[in-house]
Structures are given as C-alpha cells and as structure tokens.
Amino acid sequence: MTSLKLTNLSKRFGGVVASEDVNIEVPTGKIIGLIGPNGAGKTTIVNMITGMLPVSGGTIHVGDTDITHAPAHEICRAGLARTFQNIRLLGEASVLDNVMIGFHRHETSSTLASLLGLPASARETKALKARTMELLAAFDLTEFSDYPAGGLSYGHQRKVEMARAVATNPNFVLLDEPIAGMNDVESDALADIFEGFAQDGKGVLLIEHNVRFVAKLCSYVYVLDGGKLISEGTPDHVLSDPAVISAYLGGQDA
C-alpha cells in the first residue's frame, strides 16, 4: 500500500524553528487529521509538502517518489492535490473552465497540435468538457457551470475547488482548513465528499482547527504544537491526552 510519508521533516527560518522532526504517514483510503492551535506550524507543513517552501531537513515521499525538493508543479504529477486555506479560484473564469484546468496533467495533445489548432487539440478540449460536466454533476454544480466562479457563494466556491482537485485524479488530497467559515450544513456536505474520497481509495490529510469535525471524520490524528508533534493516535485517545488539552486550553501553570 502506498502512502504519503513525512520523515523527520524540519523547517528553520534562520534561528526560528517552525517545525522539527515531524513524522506523519497518510495511507491511501484513510482520512488522517492534523490539528494544532494557531501558530503550531500546520501551514508550514502544508507549504513544505506542496513545494512552496524549501525543506530544511527530513524527507517527503509519495509512494516511492521522493518529492522533498521537487518544484511545485511536479508534486501534482506525483499524485498529490491540494486545496487552499483561502479559496483560490480564477474569479472571472466560468466554473466549467475552473474545473477543466484540473485535468491539465492528463492532457496529451502535443504542443504543436495546440499551436496549430489541429483536430487532436479540439477533440481533447471536447472530451475534457464532457468529463468536467460529469464531475460537476457529481458535485451538484451543473447548474452553475457557465457562471463566473467569483460570483458563487462561499460553500459552492469550496466545492468548485474540490472538483478541481479531484480532476487531477490524485492518490492523495491535502485539505488546508476546508471548513473554515462554514456553517454546520455546509461542513456536513463537505464531510460526505471527504468520506467519498477515502472510499475511492484516496489518502486524505485534513488540516483543521475544528477539533469536533476532525474527531468525527478521521481515523488517526496528529497534534502539532510549537512545530513538534505532541500527540498522535485515534481521535478519542488524542483528545483525552493531557498534553493536547493543555496546548489548546492552556496548562495548569499557564
């Protein structure tokens, strides 16, 4: 079974240690949580995995592929998709176009065909459009396909972003605070989608603030504080761990 594996991952900004010896493993078909209070270093971890920040020490593997120092666009090709903490869509482009670009890494028509407008290029565009519409249907977004993505409600924009991530057909999905700012109905709808990912055999790394949401969804949870893992295990085990409680609510001497 392949997995997304972080081994002794470290990041130092000059003398400041943003993360130290972090070991996380995300197997396929499972939802794994990563929680921690503000400033714990969650986003640093995300940025290192996705190639936005250079790694100071340790390694990141997707299956057998070492992506520790790979540039951002190659990480997607290794089978890792992500969503952004603040939703990032192409605001003026239609929902259809936004999701369609997710298929980029599976496009096969040659550069020459695309330059000269050969039939191969037109066929591919047509086929991708059909696949995009199928995907939109799966996400209940069909009726919005022609609307500019920037005009959609927050919950719908998040769904468009999920559809785009799925379009890359990843083995692993990195969700960076996906339900921030959502109400319970919207977050429940997303929870169903995430469980669908796991059932499809994708590995999900869920980075969240909301402990209740993580406890409900995840089979295994890592807790980060001050750049270090302070606890890991099943949600029940982690949430009753005194180290976690003191990190979130403050310790006895705090």
């Binding site: 996705t50 190639g51 936005m52 540039p71 951002a72 666009h73 190659e74 990480i75 997607c76 090709r77 998709a81 992500r82 952004f84 990032r88 869509l89 192409l90 605001g91 003026e92 482009a93 176009d97 369609m100 670009i101 997710g102 980029h104 890494r105 496009e107 028509s109 550069t111 065909a113 695309s114 330059l115 000269l116 407008g117 290029s121 037109a122 591919e124 565009t125 009726e143 022609d146 609307y147 785009r164 890359t168």
Partner: protein, 288 residues
Amino acid sequence: MSNFIAGYLPLFDLYCLHVGLALSQFIVLRAGVFSLATAAFAGIGAYTAGILAVDLGAHPVLGVLCGTLMGMLVAMVLSIPLARLRGVYQAIATVAFIQICLSLNIYSESITGGAMGLNNIPKTVGTGTLFVFAALATYMIWAIEKGRLGRAFNTIRQDEAVAASLGISIRKHQMLAFAISGALAGLFGSLEAYHSYAIDPRQFGFHLLITVLSYVIFGGRNSVIGPLAGAAFLIILPELARPLAENRMVIYGIMLILVINFMPKGVADTAIDAIKARRLTAKRGDSA
C-alpha cells in the same frame, strides 16, 4: 470606387502589420508575462531580413524565415533572466531591452547602417501577403486560446500558485509564450522590411511599444478579438478625424483615457462579457 479603395490600401497594409505585432504583445500578457519587448523583436526581425536582402541578396522567403527564427531565438534567451522577475519589473527590464537594441543598432553602423537605417530593400511583400500572414497569425492565436495551452496560460496569468498546484510548469509555459511572441514580432518585422523599402532604428523604439500596447489595452486582453478590434479602432479613428489636422493625436489620447477609465477590460472584452451576462440572464429566465 477603385480610387477610393486604392487610397485606403496603405492603411489596410498598416493594419495587417500592426495586428501581427498586437497579437505578439497579446500572447505574452495572456501568459502573465508583463513583457513589452515586442518592438525590439520586430526590429530584430526587420533588420535580419533587411540585411539578408541588401547585403546578401537573399530570397525574401529566406529573409522572412530567418527574421522569424531570430525573433524567436532572442525572445527565448531573454525569457531566461525575465523568469526571475514579475509584473512591473519585467516591464522595466523589457523597456531597457528595447533601448539596448536601439543603441546597438545605431552604434554598429557597418552592419545596420546606423542612424541612417537600411535602404534599397526590394519591395516584395504586397497587401495580399500581409493579409494572409495576419489571418494566419490570428488563426494561430485563436487555436492556442481554444486548446491546452490557452487554458494553461489563463491559469498562470490569474494565479501562479494554483497553476503550480495543478501541475502546470510556469517556467516552461512562459518561455513558450515568449517564443511565440518573438516569432510573431520577428515575422511581422521582416514583412515590414520587405514592404517598405527602408527601415530605420527609431521605427522600433518607444513609440512602437506604446502603439502596440495601446491596441491590446484598448481592444481587450482576454479574447483574440481584442487586439484585432483595438488595432482597427486606433488606426481608423485618427484617419476619420483628419479634418482636425494636428489635433488628431488629442482625439487618440482622449479615446484611450475614456476606454481605460470606463471599460478597463477593453472594448471587445467588455462587449463579450455583456453578451455572456445577457445569455446567462436569459437562461435563468427560462428555468425559473
């Protein structure tokens, strides 16, 4: 009637040439590169073709081919240092590049004819050839827009982080956009050399940069119709305002200011957006 058409033929020639250059400017902007080097690439193409024709008596087909390739080659080399810059810094660097080309051109008098320019280039390109090339260039940009490359360019322009997270190589695509831009500018520069008997260095300087950039800004940056419409408006309108004599440039300036203020997306893109919005409203009306 035929006299009337003949009178406007030079204007049409100018339109075809400038459409090519406007498309060259359009394609880099589309890929999110704020390069203004089109004028320099056009000059490189024109001088390559001109020198081949005057000094070596080369066939025009060879001259145009070499001019195009030279423009493309220089653009690809230039894209390497520019990949480290973004936004306005790219613009400044490319303006500097135009000045460098201009100075080199004036100083290397033995090859380029210096400030006097190149004369006696045999005129071998007529209206028909210009039109065919302008149509081909428009088709190519339209094809790019419809396919994989257009989608990648759009994504990079709007959000580089998203593009990278979806597996789109920014460096590769921006270099490709540069290559296309350089080839187009080189092509139309060399066509201009074969069309106008003589070329001189100042023709490919700051003034051309502003002219070409105005076409794209005036017309629109998203649809291929933008540069076509922009060039048409800005070439025809000063002609219509000919009775105003020296005040013509004032009209040009006022138009540009009005469009930038009230239609920041350009004339063509604003119209296309309006049509799209109307279609969506109609659709909603049907389903409700």
